[in-house]
């Protein structure tokens, strides 16, 4: 059974994941959860790239995903280090209470 799945379906799935990621970014109050929603958004984008790579029969889309993964790893490392540093000074991971930049 090789029923055809339209590429658009994959893209819409990615859009759904992306929107959920944005919503989570806005709703959640824990700093680490917010960070994880960023990762979710990145994954959604990765799916989009892979889908298009499949559509155009080119492999450069997948290479882009590769690079995105690398960057996401680096970003996760640095970001979590920052979160640890923040936790040390602020003793809290609540996003709303980290507002030193309030004008």
């Amino acid at each position: 059974m090789s029923a055809q799945v339209p590429i658009a379906a994959y893209l819409i799935l990615a859009a759904v994941l992306f929107s959920i990621g944005v919503a989570a970014f806005l709703i959640k109050r824990n700093l680490i959860t917010v960070f994880m929603s960023i990762e979710l958004m990145l994954n959604a984008v990765n799916l989009t790239f892979v889908a298009f790579a499949h559509m155009w029969h080119q492999v450069s889309g997948q290479i882009f995903v590769f690079f995105v993964m690398v960057v996401a790893a680096a970003e996760a490392a640095v970001g979590l280090a920052i979160i640890i540093a923040i936790f040390r000074t602020r003793e809290t991971l609540n996003v709303d209470q980290i507002d030193l930049m309030k004008s």
Partner: protein, 673 residues
């Protein structure tokens, strides 16, 4: 030959430049010499012009055209002078009487500060007046018009340290300006209608179109009348002339009696072609003239300052000239202008002599009995008084009677009423002039013999007004007795007195056995397009009859003055005491100045509220404040973005991303289809 015409205005202007710039450093003799030469030569040129133009076969009009002034499509104005018979008469008055007054001023102003300034301004006035009279176009005449207004302002405010003098100068200029506004509007209409401002062009256009009547011509004429009313001190713009007496007496004589104030009459006479086509405008002129004549005469009857009496008398006589023009008798108006120049200048100069003799006293209640003290002044002034009252065979009789007669026989529906009012005014004129005569020269002496009202220099002029102080030796004490003026002042008085006597003889009408030379002289000017032809049709009998009636009225006026002020001097005071409110009303000039003040105040209040509060405060200030407020409001809204809260930043980010997506997707519609 005609190129000498340029010298007539330019020489006084040169005199103004010399005296105005370096006159301060020059000795008085040199200043006077410059001023006198720059006035004498134009007088000589005018005299020579008289001779050439009266000769048989001479052209009626001389024209010289100079460089173009404005040369654009639709309008060309040249510097052009024209001399016809009307101009000749005006020039004669301006330069001749002007020259005499210059001579008089040398004596009168001898000890004034700012001597050079006086003569500089006087020459400036001569320049502008000549330009006004010689001009060939409305625009050039307007230059002269404005210029004499300026010279008048400068000279009225000559004693600039005195508040009242400075205010009087301002008042004169501003009231004149209202009239000039009318003149300007008239010029605009003329340009629009005729496409040119040259007299010849405009009047020719009217003449070759006999069917043009009323309409726009009335509008132009009425606006010109507004200008004339301002310059010639008629109702309602006469209020500046009595105040203008703050200036030195020669100024009052020259500018506010003989020349500048007659500019309005001259302008109406010059534009007679235009006025003849608008009987409505002529009617307005006649009514204004008559009303002013009697109104001013009323006020003049109860004034105490000798110069004020003469000022109101001037306004009244100008009303006569307006009346003459209003009934179409332009030649009669110009004739009266000529005689009035003689006797009014004489009266002012003689009054100056009286004031000088009394060391600055101008109130007639403090005069009296001067007949024996200053005989020459007395006799010359008597000639003037007789002339203005209209006693035959002096000048005023012929000219005033001509006007009254023309009013009586004119085609104007209210001509008889105008004649009657003019007759009454003649009686009042006679009354107040003889009142002045009696109070000044007859009766007991009310003046202070050794007045200490004067000292040297400008201080006394700041205090007591327009007079000169002749002190034999500046080091002497300030006692100063009543004495006759020096001959440099009396000479012009005598000449003007002679002219007042014989001046009317050029206009003796045919009814009295004369040839009416002046009327015929002015025929080439006024014959074209004229519509007042009643003179030829009525009999001589009615003219003689009317003349007789006026002589009787004059005699009545003399008699009343005689009773009031000579025989029984208490009568006037008793009469005044019986009707105190009415007396006070007239004495205070019917409170016209105060009424004007209130009107102007009201207008200014309205404009202050409307323009000031509403527009300036509301709109101008308001829009500025609104802009500021708007910025503040917007910024306080936008400031909330900087909350320091990560989630709100995230929210704005999401919104921004959506907006970018929107633009990208729908901004490039090629992707969609």
């Amino acid at each position: 030959m005609p190129s000498n015409l340029w010298l007539i205005p330019l020489l006084p202007f040169a005199g103004f430049l010399v005296n105005g710039t370096i006159g301060r450093k020059l000795p008085r003799a040199l200043v006077s010499a410059v001023a006198l030469i720059c006035t004498a030569i134009p007088a000589a040129i005018v005299a020579w012009l008289w001779i050439t133009m009266k000769a048989a076969g001479a052209p009626d009009v001389i024209q010289i055209v100079g460089k173009p002034w404005i040369a654009i499509t639709g309008l060309t104005v040249n510097f052009a002078f024209t001399v016809d018979h009307l101009t000749l008469i005006m020039l004669g008055v301006v330069t001749g009487v002007g020259f005499l007054i210059h001579i008089y001023s040398v004596g009168y102003m001898a000890h004034e500060e700012g001597y050079w300034r006086f003569f500089a301004y006087l020459n400036l006035f001569m320049f502008f007046m000549s330009v006004l009279v010689l001009a060939e176009s409305f625009l050039l005449m307007f230059v002269g018009w404005e210029g004499v207004g300026l010279a008048s302002y400068l000279l009225i405010g000559y004693y600039f340290k005195k508040d009242s003098a400075a205010n009087a100068g301002k008042k004169a200029f501003i009231v004149n300006r209202i009239g000039d506004f009318g003149f300007l509007l008239a010029m605009f209409l003329i340009v629009r209608e005729f496409g040119s401002l040259d007299f010849a062009h405009v009047f020719n256009a009217i003449t070759v179109n006999p069917e043009w009547h009323e309409g726009i011509l009335t509008a132009i004429a009425l606006l010109l009348v507004l200008g004339a009313v301002g310059k010639s001190a008629q109702i309602p713009l006469y209020v500046w002339l009595p105040d203008a007496m703050e200036g030195p007496t020669p100024v009052s004589a020259l500018i506010h009696a003989a020349t500048m104030v007659t500019a309005g009459i001259y302008m109406v006479a010059r534009c007679h072609t235009l006025f003849d086509r608008s009987p409505y405008a002529l009617g307005v002129v006649a009514i204004i003239g008559t009303a002013t004549a009697i109104f001013a005469a009323c006020i003049g009857m109860v004034q105490h300052d000798i110069k004020r009496v003469l000022a109101y008398s001037t306004v009244s006589q100008l009303g006569y000239m307006f009346l003459a023009c209003g009934v179409g008798a332009y030649a009669a108006g110009i004739f009266h202008l000529l005689t009035h120049a003689f006797f009014k200048a004489l009266l002012f100069l003689a009054a100056g002599s009286v004031i000088h003799a009394l060391s600055g006293e101008q109130d007639m209640r403090k005069m009296g009995g001067l007949r024996k003290r200053i005989p020459i002044t007395f006799w010359t002034m008597t000639m003037g008084v007789f002339a203005i009252s209209g006693i035959p065979p002096l000048a005023g009789f012929f000219s005033k009677d001509e006007i009254l007669y023309q009013a009586f026989v004119s085609t104007n529906p209210i001509g008889k009423i105008l004649w009657f009012v003019g007759l009454v005014t003649a009686g009042m004129t006679s009354f107040y002039m003889f009142r002045l005569w009696f109070k000044t020269f007859f009766g007991p002496e009310h003046f202070e013999e050794h007045t200490d009202l004067h000292d040297h220099g400008a201080a006394v002029h700041a205090y007591s007004g327009s007079h000169a102080v002749m002190v034999a030796d500046p080091e002497e004490s300030h006692k100063h007795s009543v004495h006759e003026s020096p001959w440099i002042m009396l000479g012009p008085l005598v000449i003007l007195a002679i002219l007042s006597i014989i001046g009317g003889w050029v206009g003796v009408p045919a009814a009295m056995g004369g040839h009416d030379e002046i009327g015929h002289f002015l025929d080439p000017v006024f014959a074209s397009g004229a519509s007042a032809e009643a003179a030829a049709t009525t009999s001589h009998g009615s003219e003689l009859g009317l003349a007789l009636i006026s002589v009787i009225v004059v005699a009545i006026g003399f008699y009343i003055a005689y009773i009031f002020y000579y025989k029984k001097p208490r009568t006037a005071a008793a009469l005044a005491a019986r009707a105190p409110a009415l007396y006070r009303l007239v004495e205070n000039k019917f409170y016209i100045d105060e009424i004007y003040g209130v009107i102007v105040m009201v207008l200014m209040m309205i404009s202050r509220v409307a323009l000031g509060s509403l527009i300036d405060g509301g709109i101008v200030n308001g829009s500025g404040a609104a802009a500021g407020g708007l910025t503040k409001g917007l910024s306080s809204l936008v400031r909330r973005v900087q909350s320091g809260n990560i989630r709100s930043y995230a929210g704005w980010l999401a919104l921004g991303a959506a907006a970018v997506l929107l633009v990208m997707i729908f901004g490039r519609s090629v992707w969609l289809h």
